[in-house]
Structures are given as structure tokens and as C-alpha cells.
Amino acid sequence: MTISLAPFANNWFFLLKAVWITVVISLSSMLLGFAIGIVVGSLRTYGGKWVDRILGFYVDTMRAIPLLVVLIWIYFAFPLAIGISVNVMTAAIAALGIHLGAYVAETIRAGLTSVRRGQMSAALALGMSRMQAVRTVILPQALIRMLPSLGSLLIFAIKDSAIASVIAVPELLRQTQVVAGKTFRPFELYTGAMLIYFLLCFPVARSVDRLYRRISFLGSS
């Protein structure tokens, strides 16, 4: 078996652009997921029984349906339902973000309930409204405490971005397939792609670890 690095040398720019798209999708979906997750998680914790149930339905649905199915549905079926067409990037980021948001929401919920109840009492005793208390006292502590879990969700965002390849988003996996098809060297290319994903994920995991070690004392009650 001969290994050639030629496919990389000849297509490095093409693949580099693909890596960029992967990064963009990962970050965008993480941001969207984060935004959804903070709102949903907070509402589930503080919004009362009915809000908890309704939002719980969203969360449990995302836990039940594969990301691939969500993505396919948003790209192919949703436009038919509402009559507006969606481009691949939007569909990908929306699907990933909505799916991820459910998991972020659960993490945030766990974080909020892990903060000592006395903290809420202290904030209320100072005259703050519940929303002010959650925003300035409870939520920051929850985020710090949940940093490791949130970090692993970020890793998921990076890995799940590859699923966007099925709707032809020009991210790393898709473009790797394209080059493999052209050069007939799947081993080098797919192995190389694995390495690149590893190089994207591993430092993120390490940095989150290090960051958590340094600031975890800020979240301890």
C-alpha cells in the first residue's frame, strides 16, 4: 500500500476553505444553541409548571430525533410547509443549533438548580427582582459550574457539523469526499480528515479543562 500526500498538496486551499466552513458552522450553531439553551433552561427552571412541560416537550423531542432527520426535515420539508426556500448553510446552522439547544438547555437547567438556594434569598433580600437575581447572580454561577459540560457540547457541535455534508454544505467532510472522488485516494484523504477534526476538537477540550481549573472557584457556593 502506497501512501501519497499529493492529494493534499494539490488541493490544500480547497480543503482549507472547507475547514473554515466547518469552523463557521460549529461556532454559529454553538452560538444559536447557546442562546436557545440559556432561554429555555432558565424558563424551565423559573417559569412554572406549564412552561416547564411545554419546553420539556421541545427538549425531549430533540433528544428523541436524530440530528440527521432534523436536518433533512428542515432543508427539504420545512420550505414546503411555509413556502420559503432555505439555503444549505442556514438549514445546517438552524438544525444544528436547534438540536444542540435542547442539550444546552438541560445543562443550564442542571447548573441553575445546583446553585445554593441561599444565593437567591440573598439576592432577593437586597431588593432584586427574580429576573435580576437570575441574570446577575444565579446564571453566572451556573455557567461557571457547567463549563465542562458546555465544553463537551462544543465538541459535539464541531463533530456534528460533518453531518451537514449530506445536504452538500461545502464543509470539511463533503469536500474531502469530493477530492477523494477526484483523486481515488480515499485512505489518505479520509485519514487526513480524521486528523484535522481531531486537531480541532482536542485543543478545545484541553482549553476548556484548563479554563475550568482556573475559574471553578468562582462558581463554588
Partner: protein
């Protein structure tokens, strides 16, 4: 039953600042407070003592509506408090300061920000004014050098002093202390009590739930003894501690190591019941 309470030079003569009337509070099947009434005059230091579980902390938390009484009401600064209104509840909480047994400092903020947070978010002070106020209060409790420290870096006594400063930053009319020294090491109790004494000397109205009998006797203007959700006795510190009337009161004080003079030891925390 209520005696004349104008003896102390510190006590003002106008209408009481805080009145709790006929408070009844249940937790499940347990009656935590059974028809309890309390009056606090401006400038007074009222100490609530009694065994654990006797209802003292619950009464304190009813004062600033952290707990809502099942029956009875609260009159603050002459007006009846409508605890169903979130707006009004927040308003009276701004006028009352509370210090917790477990300090409850916000661990993600520096000492300075802990004190300045509520003035900025609740009183809408601008940041500089709030921080200036915070610095002044830190100096008052003797912790100016700790303004950039985080709570986890401070000792218990230091944290509690910061907590007192945090409550004072709202410029309250009355300070509520819920067993402020119960979670402290013996060495650090003194520093917190001396801050509290300083506040009392400056004329702050205070309601203190405490096991520190010495403090209650020397700094208190009025002492209220609780047992099983009721007030069994109240009066001037001299009367309660030196010539205590009720048998149960004497038994409780004895159980806590109070022998009729300044006690140095820390009280036990079990409710009286293993003595005959």
C-alpha cells in the same frame, strides 16, 4: 404584657418602625410560628433567642417577606405590607438589610462588586457612585485591603463582615441578622460582633437572631425568648439574663452555658430537652 421600653437612651419615641402582628406559619404539619407578635422601635436592638427550630429565623424571614406568613401581617414604617404585590415586596426589601448565617456572598464577584451590585441594579446608582459607597463601607468594616478579593479567598469572619457591608450599601432602615455568627470559628466571632456593636452604637435599628448571649445582654435593648413557635418571655436584657422570670427561659439559658455572667463558651445547638 408589653412593658415600657423607653428606658434605653438609644430608643426613639415615635411610632414603632417594624411590627409583626399575630403571625402564624405552617410548614407541612409543623406549626413554625403560633400567633407571634413583635414590635421593634426605631434605634432599638432586639435580640431573638431560643432553641433551634423555635421559629426565630422564620419570624425574621417573614419580616422581609422571604417567607410569607399564613396568617397575620407586617407593618413597616407605618404602612401595612401587601406581600402579594411583587413591586411592594421588593420596595420594602430595599429598606431592610439582611445578613445570613452562611454569609451567601456571590462567589463569582469580587468583594467590591458584591457590595456594589444591588445599588447598581436595584437603586440604579451609576457604577462609580456605587463603588465609592462600597469602598466606604469596606473601610467601615475594616476590610479596605480586600476589595479585589473573591469570597473564596476570605475567612468566614471576613466574609460575614463583607455581607454586612453589602446589606448596609442599600442604606436600610433596619438590619436583620439571622444567626450571623453561628457558622463561624470561635476566633472570628469577635470581629463580626464588634462590627455589629458599632452599628448599634450608631443608632441602627437591628433585629438579631443569635446564640451569643453575651452580645444580647450587652448590646441588646430588648430580648425576646422563643420556644416551639411561641414567645415565652420578653423584656430588658437585665431582667432576662440576670433575674430571669420563667423557668423555661432559665433552663434554656443554662443549657446554653449562661450562668448569670459574661459567658465565653459557644452554645450547643440542640433544642433543650435532654435536661430534667
Amino acid at each position: 404584657m408589653m412593658q415600657e421600653r423607653q428606658n434605653s437612651s438609644r430608643v426613639g419615641s415615635d411610632a414603632p418602625l417594624l411590627v409583626l402582628q399575630n403571625i402564624r406559619k405552617r410548614y407541612g404539619s409543623v406549626l413554625a410560628l403560633d400567633d407571634v407578635s413583635l414590635k421593634v422601635n426605631r434605634g432599638e436592638v432586639v435580640c431573638l433567642i431560643g432553641p433551634s427550630g423555635s421559629g426565630k429565623s422564620t419570624l425574621l424571614r417573614c419580616a422581609n417577606a422571604l417567607d410569607i406568613a399564613d396568617e397575620g401581617g407586617v407593618i413597616f414604617e407605618g404602612k401595612s405590607v401587601d406581600t402579594r404585590s411583587a413591586e411592594e415586596t421588593r420596595r420594602i426589601r430595599q429598606r431592610m438589610g439582611m445578613v445570613f448565617q452562611n454569609f451567601e456572598l456571590f462567589p463569582h464577584l469580587t468583594t467590591l462588586r458584591n457590595i456594589a451590585l444591588a445599588p447598581t441594579t436595584v437603586l440604579k446608582l451609576d457604577r462609580e457612585k456605587a463603588e465609592a459607597r462600597a469602598r466606604a463601607l469596606l473601610a467601615k468594616v475594616g476590610l479596605s485591603d480586600k476589595e479585589a478579593a473573591y469570597p473564596s479567598m476570605l475567612s468566614g469572619g471576613q466574609q460575614q463582615r463583607v455581607a454586612i457591608a453589602r446589606a448596609l450599601a442599600m442604606e436600610p432602615a433596619v438590619m436583620l441578622f439571622d444567626e450571623p455568627t453561628s457558622a463561624l470559628d470561635p476566633e472570628t466571632i469577635g470581629e463580626v460582633l464588634s462590627v455589629m456593636k458599632k452599628l448599634a452604637d450608631e443608632g441602627m435599628t437591628m433585629v438579631v437572631v443569635t446564640h451569643e448571649m453575651d452580645f444580647a445582654r450587652r448590646v441588646g435593648d430588648w430580648v425576646v425568648v422563643f420556644d416551639k413557635g411561641r414567645i415565652i418571655e420578653e423584656g430588658f436584657p437585665g431582667k432576662i439574663f440576670d433575674d430571669a422570670a420563667g423557668e423555661r427561659t432559665r433552663e434554656f439559658l443554662r443549657h446554653l452555658g449562661w450562668h448569670g455572667e459574661s459567658s465565653g463558651g459557644r452554645p450547643g445547638s440542640t433544642s433543650g430537652g435532654d435536661q430534667k
